[in-house]
């Protein structure tokens, strides 16, 4: 009896989660879906046509590129930071909080404040400025994930490697990175999503000259055109999901390699 109840709850849960997704896809194909009907009256590719014709697919590509840049840069900074934070040292609490700051401070406050500085530095209205500032909200996520992984793995293997004579670069390449790999993938994905969905920073700093897909999508969401909004959102979500699948695949490949190595030892 209990199992049946759990299953029913599970069914409700899945539908709550999956329903909007299916609905969105439906909407993206419907041209007329007047109020009380449960099924669209007229379906066509109108919404999708509009999407393709507006040239926003190119913006999509550049947004993905931009977010990839952000992800890479963030990870580069987060990696050593997380490693450092997984040890105990004198100012640790301070740095911990420091890294945590972007989560608590509203993005809007930072962006508006730094906007003028950026203009002075010539970073406003450029992709560089956007990338730079996006690192800010992305960092805490990356550091947090990597820090946990570092803490979990421990540094024995690395110490061993150094003791046996490897340089720190070799150690990093052959020992640390493979060990941390799932963490890296996870952090990479997380940062990508945050960056890709980031609207405010791009809006303010990009100022109309730098656009991401999220920026292009927003006005449609505000307006009442559900068809086109749904098309955009479907693309938006698909990119995210695709990225998730890619990272998962990379992980699986990595594990398969590792398992083989273990067996040979």
């Amino acid at each position: 009896m209990k199992r049946k109840r759990s299953e029913k709850l599970f069914f409700i849960l899945s539908s709550v989660i999956l329903l909007p997704l299916i609905l969105t896809v439906f909407w993206s194909f419907s041209v007329r879906w007047r109020f009380p009907d449960l099924i669209p009256q007229k379906m066509s590719l109108y919404g999708w046509n509009a999407l393709v014709r507006s040239g926003d697919l190119r913006v999509l590509a550049s947004s993905v590129l931009l977010s990839l840049c952000v992800s890479l840069l963030t990870l580069l900074i987060a990696f050593p930071a997380a490693k450092a934070l997984s040890y105990d040292f004198k100012g640790k609490r301070f740095f911990d909080t420091l890294v945590f700051m972007p989560v608590i401070i509203p993005v809007t406050a930072i962006s508006m404040g730094i906007h003028t500085e950026f203009i002075k530095m010539g970073l406003a209205y450029s992709a560089g400025g956007v990338i730079l500032l996006q690192i800010f909200p992305c960092l805490p996520y990356a550091v947090r994930i990597l820090k946990n992984v570092f803490g979990y793995i421990g540094d024995d293997l690395e110490n061993q490697s150094r003791l046996l004579g490897a340089s720190w670069f070799q150690t990093m390449k052959e020992v640390t990175v493979p060990l941390i790999f799932p963490g890296i993938m996870s952090a990479f994905f997380m940062v990508f999503v945050v960056s890709f969905s980031e609207y405010f920073i791009t809006l303010l700093i990009g100022g109309g000259l730098t656009e991401t897909f999220a920026i292009r999508m927003f006005p449609y969401l505000e307006g009442s055109n559900r068809t086109v909004s749904s098309a955009y959102v479907t693309v938006f979500t698909s990119v995210t999901v695709l990225f998730l699948l890619l990272t998962e695949k990379a992980l699986k490949k990595h594990y398969r390699k590792k398992v083989r190595e273990y067996f040979y030892v």
Binding site: F10, L19, L21, L23, I77, A81, F95, P106
Partner: protein, 268 residues
Amino acid sequence: MVFVIYYGLAGGLKQSLGYIPGLGKYEITLRYYKELLRDPEFSRSLLFTLRYTVIATALSVALGVLGAQWLRSFKKTEPAELIIRIPVVIPFLAASLYTILVFSSTGFIARILNPFGLTFQGFTGEENGIGIILTFIWKSTPYVMLTVFALLRKMSGTFEEVSENLGAGKIRTFFTITLPLIKEEVLTVTIILFSFIFGSYEVPMLLGPTSPKAISVFAHHEYLDPLMESRARAMAASLLQTVCGIFIALLLLFLFKGRRIRHEKKKI
């Protein structure tokens, strides 16, 4: 190890570059702050934002924790985990659209109820911000569930088994044993959620009413005003928002950590 710490510092420096200039744009007079505090629009925004943040956070955490507990009773957790990960992965801009599609006055729920002669008012753009709350719940509850569940999985169930063996009912066990064990993690998640929702701009912008605005929206609105004065007001508003957020986060932290400190002293 020195190089590692050095890079850590660099990371921290990146942070200070981020938020100190943010503070550098306010005038030397406190006039704007006083104006702002007296502005009824501002206080309404603040209250509104606080209100939906608290409700959304509380509900998400409560549901999430319960959900995590429920997940433990599953034999095969894989499919559940997969489905629950979906809202976490989906950007919340998209989630806002979902709320519109499902919950607005012409949305899915309205259509289902309609043949029964029930009218459904719709949750978008309305004064209580229920739509905003729902969107955040949809996205945050699974996040809480996953985080807490991961934690629960690592814990061994021995304490709970003992408790039940000694006769405590399932509910009592949950409150006296399970909850205190996960308290710290739950607290962290709560703070994160709260800060995030409090400072969120996109969701209330899309789903919120024109008045009262959420604070982020309010600040941004002021910022765009061509009057130079309004810029200062916007900055003041943002700063107040930041201070508020930090204050509440610290409050929550001390409220709960304080208890722990007392506990540890007892042990000694």
